[in-house]
Amino acid sequence: MRNAFADELTRLGDEDPRIVMLSGDIGNRLFDKFKTRHATRFFNCGVAEANMMGVAAGLAMNGLRPIAYTITPFVTARCLEQIRTDVCYHEAPVTIVAVGAGLSYAGLGPTHHSCEDIAFLRSLPNMVVMCPGDSFEVRAALRASLRQEHPVYIRIGKKGEPVVHRAPLADFEIGKAITIVDGKDVCLLSTGNMLPEAVAAARQLNARGISGRIVSFHTVKPLDEACLRQAFDRFALVATLEEHSRIGGFGSAVAEWLVDAGIAPKKFIRFGTPDAFFKQSGEQDFAREVFGLSAHHIAEKILQAMSGK
């Protein structure tokens, strides 16, 4: 995802002179092309995220389109007040891109995990929250964010994740979820880098005779209410999948929406990380195993729920 981000950013930099790239001393060599082509619009802001976010707001308040980028906890929790006050209060069109979201950087240790950021960011007025599911969605989300006149948060994974879509997403829209595969028994609403797990889980379910619709719910705020309404109306079971805490994330947003919409779900499972830190050494796949977020866990739990009456 991060290579797709850097590549798309370079293209957008060619097209739009308002784009200014701010990096928190991260992405060694990643932005070389952008730097070569737009030397006056790339700034390494150092390991000083509070300032970087304030600078981004100041640039955006004066007509530019800054993109502030570093590892997820540092570009969210570390400078949350700057995001709240400088960016969101002023409705400054800053695009915040967080790399290594969720457990993508599990192996880097606990300071680099981020399973709380959706909760932080979606509570902020004026903020759009996007969690693209593969590299095509990363490109489309970045492009779409620059058509907004509001702050946008884009939460991406690492590099080398499976690509789910087959081609560029020409009709991608913020707040409009994408059905990857249709099905009739269960509906898997996946946000962010869980999309490949959702695809794998659906395959496993299919082998057990359960047909699953897979939806890439790339925008957590605003929610695609039409998609949700249809899913809860049509399917015996709806599940949300996210590499984020079950507190305050995508599943929480859907649960809140259900209550407000007065809809009683038939069966609703929220897959996400527990209210706990991941305290071991280990890469992302291992962390997903520990937290029950691997495809086989998802498939098993859904099978259980479907047969459990």
Binding site: A48, G54, M61
Partner: protein
């Protein structure tokens, strides 16, 4: 004190600025009384700085508050909102009568300034340590877009406690933002204690110098010195400018000067009369 007067202003101009500063202080005292709002002493402390900025230094037109080429003034010490509001109203950004709505329900004059409500308020401030990073972004945008405006950010001395101030200081120096000027309202007090006894600020000019700024100390109540120091930004050094303005908290009203009770206290009607008299106002 390292005071170099490069572009002295005429004595008549200085007299006019001083009279305006006195009027500004009178309005601030009245607003604090009417709203029973805190931060009176902090507002009085920076009255001369605001006066010189808005009547002598800034290239601004109150009729066109959104002019992209205007100089930006960020009241990073947002708790001095009364001083900013009174300045903007006296300068013609909005009617003077609106000052009577300070802190009123449904009004535009909150105790710390919101942005996008009042013409002339560049940013919502009050949480300290935000104005300088914002100012860096604005100064950088001016450079990127080839717009020649300048950015002035007024910080409190207590605000120098915030790490984000020093993050921004290093950023501005690295980017050589010579269109950026920080003024520190150095009244030696913060909300509840002496600044140096809270987090050691001294030596403050040396700190800013060490962070790569062209830093100078001035008398923050001397309108001529302020005008001479602020007007030449950018000053040709290729560095951002830091003016360490020595001030007195509560300046202009004898019974408030250097008495930190007035950080939170609001004056009674009798005290308003007494203060206005001291300020030479009827």
């Amino acid at each position: 004190m390292n005071v170099s007067v490069r572009k002295a202003i005429a004595q008549t101009d200085a007299d006019t600025l001083q009279r305006r500063a006195a009027e500004l202080r009178g309005r601030i005292v009245e607003m604090s009384h009417a709203a029973q709002a805190a931060h009176l002493a902090s507002s009085l402390s920076c009255a001369d700085i605001l006066t010189v900025a808005y009547w002598h230094v800034l290239n601004v037109n109150p009729q066109r508050p959104g002019d992209p080429l205007r100089d930006r003034f960020i009241l990073s010490k947002g708790h001095a909102a009364a001083a900013l509001y009174a300045t903007l109203a006296m300068r013609g950004y909005f009617p003077l009568e609106e000052l009577a709505t300070f802190c009123e329900d449904g009004g535009r004059l909150a105790e710390h300034p919101p942005a996008n409500l009042l013409p002339g308020v560049e940013a919502a401030t009050g949480s300290l340590g935000h104005g300088l990073p914002l100012g860096c972004g604005m100064a950088l945008s001016g450079r990127i877009k080839g717009e020649g405006f300048r950015v002035f950010a007024l910080l409190s001395d207590g605000e120098n406690n915030e790490g984000s101030v020093w993050e921004a200081a290093m950023f501005a120096a690295a980017q050589k933002l010579d269109n950026l000027c920080v003024i520190v309202d150095y009244n030696k007090w913060q909300a509840t204690a002496r600044s140096d006894e809270t987090l050691m600020l001294a030596p403050l000019r040396e700190k800013w110098t060490a962070f790569g700024w062209n830093a100078r100390e001035i008398d923050g109540h001397d309108v001529t010195a302020l005008a001479s120091a602020m007007q030449p930004v950018p000053d040709g050094s290729g560095k951002p400018v830091a003016l360490i303005a020595h001030t007195v908290k509560g300046k202009g009203v004898s019974f408030m000067e250097d008495d930190n009770n007035w950080h939170y206290r609001a004056p009674t009607a009798e005290e308003v009369v007494k203060a206005r008299k001291e300020l030479g106002l009827s």
